[in-house]
Subunit: 217 residues, 2 copies
DNA sequence: CATATCTCGATATTTTTTTATCGATATCCA
DNA sequence: TGGATATCGATAAAAAAATATCGAGATATG
């Protein structure tokens, strides 16, 4: 893997924080400061940042701009990936509207759906196309990334269309495990899974009110 | 913590899978089978399930229905939490429309916004109210869960309103770290963070095409 | 009814991730 | 200019999570 998954997940957090610093005109930052603001121990931050290849200066810390650039380069955020999105429902529409994705290396170039009502519409400047055209278009436009925001029932079928169109990575918002060839990168964004931790913690709070662990994480 | 975070995150995956089995009329399941379908090693599944308190039978495995119930009880999904959502934009609308949340212990009862255009509208059967009313209503209705789907700039301010209204847990979709009292449970749902792993893996794929690790996870 | 096989649950081991420690070095201040 | 201090980077230790192993019990089969 090269970098631990948890470190990978923290990098965008640093990225966001550093951009705030930059906006405030702060040019240099230490792990101690980041840790103070982000509630993490400095050593961990230092280790995470080391994966990006950045080097800091003792006593001073890191150059904010350099650090931002290092994270972006490391994550591949400076060469923008074009993506197709399938499922122009509520969630799909939300993602299509997220203009800020382009700052994070993602540009959704078209949406697909099977609903005749939706096909032909423009959502946030992107045309909704019939799903049958996906594979062919993906090939011709060399699209490597697909986003599934369709209902769980259709997800597998959509994934197969994506794969047949040469798509290499799928960002899947449907709560199903996709069955695809092993070389395809699948990232599941399961809101229910996320909700689970929250419910559990909340349930704990109300069932065992005397044992308040106070962790905000 | 009681249960490791990764285990907690896997439980909904099992839950979903088990429901599929149930729908197919399968009454009993072993960890080996789950593992085969979900691409996990049986021991890990067994350990995860043990946290829910379920006991299986050698040779047979677990009773599907019992197992589903055990997970739901463990996660607190059978006593539904009512929640307020703030930010009736694209993402907020998407979440308001997710009727299935109620199956997972979550019922969004009202939406809030500051935009006069939105206030008074009904979105998926939920009224959009002015944000000023949040704290008071939360108190009166004993709402313990808040969902933030507003822009990053407003998130901190919204969080404070929630806290003042007695809300105990916040599901935060804005990409900012919220500054709240330590006893408040905050769960950040950062799409950019999620995107990071995906971008990184995709970048790896295109930069080092000869080192195909083939991991679909 | 005995034996082979499967799977659980518990314990042990390995791996991964987090946290601690320490010497080296850059900056600040007297 | 010299010493105090903060912070990095590297190495080491600790904690957490994943995986392996094994005995015991349940079911099927001959």
């Amino acid at each position: 893997m090269g970098i631990p998954q948890p470190s990978l997940n923290r990098l965008p957090q640093y990225h966001h924080y550093l951009n705030q610093l930059k906006a405030k005109g702060i040019n240099t930052v230490s792990c101690s400061l980041i840790g103070l603001d982000l509630n993490l121990v400095p050593v961990q931050i230092r280790k995470d940042l080391q994966y990006t290849g950045i080097v800091g200066k003792p006593k001073t810390g890191y150059a904010v701009a350099e650090l931002i650039a290092a994270i972006e380069t490391f994550l591949g955020w400076n060469n923008v990936q074009e993506a197709f999105l399938v499922g122009a429902g509520n969630l799909g529409t939300a993602l299509l509207g997220h203009e800020r994705f382009s700052t994070f290396g993602l540009r959704i170039v078209a949406a697909f759906d099977t609903d005749p009502e939706k096909i032909g519409q423009w959502i946030h400047g992107k045309m909704v196309l019939p799903l049958e055209k996906l594979a062919d278009l993906a090939k011709r436009m060399s699209i490597h990334l697909g986003i599934i925001t369709a209902p769980a029932e259709c997800a597998q079928w959509i994934a197969e269309k994506m794969v047949s169109g040469g798509i290499q990575a799928i960002w899947n918002f449907a709560p199903v495990r996709l069955n695809v060839p092993p070389e395809i990168i699948v990232h599941n964004e399961d809101l229910y899974s996320s909700l689970a931790s929250l419910s559990w913690k909340l349930a704990q709070r109300f069932n065992i009110p005397f044992q308040q662990d106070g962790g905000s994480n």
